[in-house]
């Protein structure tokens, strides 16, 4: 069997990577990957190929050989003609794919994690600085497990009365309102949500909702209501306890770990 040229191997790697990203990972293994991310990965793969072929002069010459042959040698006339037809066809297809696609609005330009204010408030009452405020019922976890359980249960009640429509039965952001919302409701089962934020951050997001997002987070297009108009301070803290109890994730703290 004839040995494949370096150029052909590189081409196979490039096209194969695209197929794997687009259809295997972004289809069979998981949900589709956004085009911009695939483009980013493809850029890296091109860099990898360029690095590999250009490190040594001999490899570089070997890589360029079929290109040179195709361009100048008489015996490659057929190949040359095929390529001369394929390139415009490819460009035509690409241009068509860009122009002919349905109007596809861009995603939300809003910051995913808008920056919280320095002070945490409930209505107009200042609770404390965002850095220092802790869940007032968190200490029951160690000091009084029964009381803690009662608060968690209250949080469960609050959640299933108010939050599950959007955030879902299993706190995974798959509530029955969710498909009609953009941005989609937070998925608390995601390991990057609860562990990355303090309980005070969650209190702020729940209390102030979408309209309470800071100017830097505009355009605010979150459907989250201003829950401080409907829930008491304690109910918000309780529902925060429930979120971590149900998912098993712990909120971020800033002590020294032991």
């Amino acid at each position: 069997m004839k040995k494949l040229s370096l150029f052909t191997i590189c081409l196979i790697v490039l096209v194969g990577s695209w197929v794997v990203l687009r259809f295997a990972i972004g289809g069979i293994v998981s949900v589709p990957i956004p085009g911009s991310v695939i483009a980013m990965y493809m850029g890296l793969i091109i860099i990898a190929i360029l690095v590999h072929i250009s490190v040594e002069d001999s490899l570089f010459r070997e890589f360029l050989r079929p290109i040179r042959e195709t361009l100048v040698e008489d015996r490659r006339q057929v190949r040359r003609r095929v390529i001369a037809v394929l390139i415009p066809l490819f460009l035509l297809g690409y241009t068509y794919s860009i122009i002919a696609q349905r109007a596809n609005p861009p995603g939300s330009p809003r910051d995913a994690h808008p920056s919280p204010p320095l002070e945490l408030t409930y209505k107009d009452e200042v609770i404390g600085t965002m850095q220092d405020v802790v869940n007032p019922f968190r200490h029951y976890e160690k000091d009084d497990p029964e009381a803690f359980k009662a608060h968690v249960e209250n949080g469960r009640r609050v959640y299933y009365q108010n939050c599950f429509y959007c955030h879902g039965d299993h706190l995974d952001g798959q509530g029955h309102f969710a498909p009609h919302l953009q941005p989609l409701p937070a998925n608390f089962q995601d390991p990057g949500i609860i562990p990355n934020f303090q309980e005070a951050f969650f209190f702020w997001r729940i209390a102030k909702g979408g309209p309470g997002l800071p100017a830097a987070g505009t355009p605010w297009d979150s459907a989250m209501p201003i829950w401080e108009n409907h829930l008491t301070k304690d109910e918000i803290w309780d529902v925060i306890l429930f979120l971590s109890e149900y998912t098993g994730y712990q909120f971020r703290t800033f002590g020294e770990a032991h």
Binding site: S30, M40, N104, P106, Q174, P183, P191, A200, Q250, A257
Partner: protein
């Protein structure tokens, strides 16, 4: 008058006229006491930004270069190999050229700050006055030590070499101290607070008094509930904003030491990369084989130094980031999850370029070593590993800004259910550690190229080294996976440091084993210095450009984190520039600064070359030859 002279005069008149027109509006401003004054045309912030960043880039270069120059000089002294000595001297010559420009830019920065931000400077000088005097003393110390070190190089050879090396060390002590002092000013602006445990007694008392005054229900005992040695205490009265600490409190603010260490190591990496870029340029224009060989060697050394600095930098940056979160959670979220989060994706791309570039250079370098071919078969795998890790590092957590609505819908949210995991720090830290280990492996192969070990235990040694790499990789990946499931505190304070320790331990152990294994190695071929590809030299220049841009961008992040505060939470920025510039604006600004920096550095290096050329021409004249003969 010749045409050349006429054009020169016309050019100067044109430049002077342009400068006059540019600054003229400044003279029309109110000369009375003002909070802010506008810098003409480009605005005060941009003026201060350009001057500060250029000053920092030059400062970084002149602080970084002496650190490795003195080590190289020491190696030359111990090995009695004068090539090292000459190279170290050449490094210091480059440093000398840049030294006065650094001072000049520092002066420009101070003038801009005093003129455009008088109230801020009054506040800062009121707090840091004594340190400014100390800075001046240190500056004199550094200047004279540098002069003595540089001009005394040839005179202090032989038995005075030890003293010369001492001067080199002293130069670094002065340089580092200067940087630490100026870091105190800027880190204080970001974090004007420190921990209760290291606070001065006076501020401890006044802080407790403030707490008692603010809440009459408190008693001295209840006021201290929950206060530990780690509790953050502001250095200003929380009501009046008056500074309440000592100078040392202000200096020893919360982010001071992380910034110090990050910059110290960063200077080494940056200095190495600039030296390597200089050598690359000289290599590309060199006409003789000897010159090519010399600058090839110099470029290799510069890249090696840059790599040594680069390897610990991500960890030190991580530490700084952790401290920023500890100081203020909002600031941390702004940095990594909000306003500046995309900047860190750009950062990942740039650090990826640095690592790929450094590896590329090492792999290219193996082409000039006879007997290195045996390692070429591993290269595709190493490229694959590095590229996958860089891909993980640069995968954003939240994809909403770069996805269409239908893509978001298909993903079920702003985070991809699988790739979104790459956006979390535990995945990124894992990727960085693997990149570092792979880069170290590249270096190991480079080091071994052309050598055949003679140690009887070489087979067992190699199996041990391979097992160590394998176990380390598995450990780092497992720790990374566990990191998804544990509380953040545990991950940040324990798991991530463990990952780093594993990588560092492997590098240390393997280096020691390798040194012993190759101690009496025979050679299978020589290094053909000067036979590098031109492409590899362009990569060295690319690495220097990337370092410069990266420093500029990170400077924007560090400074921008304060948002609309001159001193965070204490002194608000009420100037017309009190807004965070868009990332695109910042990138443009950094690009302008980067071009200006390389233009200035190029000019300084060209001046040095010009003088060198003149000297060589003079030495080559018949008169000089006669004089030289007479001297003999």
């Amino acid at each position: 008058m010749s045409n050349k002279k006429l054009y020169l005069i016309l050019g100067c008149v044109f430049i002077a006229y342009t400068v006059l027109l540019t600054v003229a509006p400044a003279f029309a401003q109110d000369a009375t006491e003002a909070e802010y004054r506008a810098f003409p045309k480009i605005g005060s912030r941009n003026a201060a930004w350009i001057a500060a960043q250029l000053h920092l880039l030059f400062g970084s270069f002149i602080l970084g270069v002496p650190m490795f120059a003195v080590i190289i000089e020491f190696i030359g002294w111990k090995t009695k190999d004068m090539r090292y000595d000459r190279m170290a001297q050449e490094f210091i010559k480059l440093c000398m050229g840049a030294f006065s420009t650094t001072a000049l830019l520092g002066g420009v920065l101070v003038f801009i700050l005093i003129w455009c931000y008088p109230k801020v400077m009054t506040k800062l000088s009121g707090i840091f006055g004594p340190t400014m005097i100390f800075y001046v003393i240190l500056f004199f110390g550094e200047t004279f030590t540098l002069y003595l070190y540089s001009y005394g190089w040839d005179k202090m050879q032989g038995r005075h070499k030890g003293w010369h090396l001492f001067l080199g060390v002293l130069l670094n002590v002065f340089g580092t101290a200067i940087m630490f002092v100026s870091n105190a000013w800027l880190s204080y602006q970001t974090s004007p607070a420190t921990q209760y445990g290291v606070l001065s007694e006076g501020r401890r008392k006044s802080w407790i008094e403030e707490k008692l005054a603010a809440d009459p229900a408190l008693t001295p005992e209840t006021a201290m509930e929950g206060v530990t040695s780690h509790t953050m205490v502001p250095l200003h009265n929380e009501t009046t904003g008056e500074f309440m600490g000592t100078v040392w409190d202000a200096v020893n603010n919360f982010t001071w030491m992380p910034v110090n260490i990050h910059r110290l190591v960063g200077n080494i990496a940056f200095g190495g990369s600039i030296v390597a870029a200089y050598a690359a340029f000289r290599f590309l224009v060199a006409k003789t084989k000897e010159d090519k060989a010399h600058y090839d060697w110099m470029g290799y050394t510069g890249n090696f130094i840059a790599l040594c600095g680069l390897i610990p930098l991500p960890f030190l940056g991580y530490w700084l980031g952790r401290e920023i979160y500890m100081f203020n959670n909002t600031m941390g979220i702004n940095m990594m999850g909000s306003l500046f989060s995309w900047l860190f994706i750009i950062q990942a791309v740039m650090i990826g370029v640095l690592f790929i570039g450094a590896n590329y250079y090492l792999w290219s370098g193996m082409g000039r070593i006879e007997g290195a071919e045996i390692y070429a078969r591993y290269r595709p795998y190493m490229i694959t590993v590095i590229i996958i890790c860089v891909a993980i590092w640069m995968t954003p957590r939240t994809l909403s800004k770069i996805s269409t609505a239908s893509e978001l819908s298909a993903m079920g949210g702003a985070n991809h259910p699988h790739l979104g995991l790459f956006g979390l720090m535990t995945a990124k830290n894992t990727a960085v550690n693997i990149i570092i280990l792979t880069t170290f492996l590249s270096f190991l192969f480079y080091r071994r190229s052309g050598k055949i070990p003679t140690a009887s235990w070489k087979k067992i040694g190699n199996i041990g080294i391979s097992a160590l790499f394998f176990l380390a990789t598995v450990s780092i990946v497992v720790i990374g996976i566990v990191g998804f499931t544990v509380p953040t505190d545990l991950r940040v304070n324990i798991l991530t440091p463990y990952q780093v320790l594993v990588a560092l331990a492997v590098m240390a152990i393997v280096t020691i084993v390798d040194i012993f294994m190759y101690r009496k190695a025979t050679t299978s071929g020589t290094i053909k210095w000067g036979e590098m590809t031109d492409r590899s030299q362009y990569v060295l220049i690319l690495v220097a450009i990337t370092f410069t841009s990266l420093m500029g961008l990170m400077g924007y992040a560090r400074s921008g984190l304060r948002e609309a505060w001159h001193i965070f939470g204490v002194m608000q920025d009420t100037s017309p520039d009190a807004f965070t510039p868009l990332l695109s604006e910042a990138v443009n600004m950094v690009a302008i600064i980067m071009v200006a920096f390389f233009a200035l550095v190029g000019f300084i290096f060209w001046l040095g070359l010009w003088g060198e050329k003149k000297k060589e021409e003079k030495a080559a004249t018949p008169e000089a030859a006669v004089t030289a003969e007479g001297d003999d």
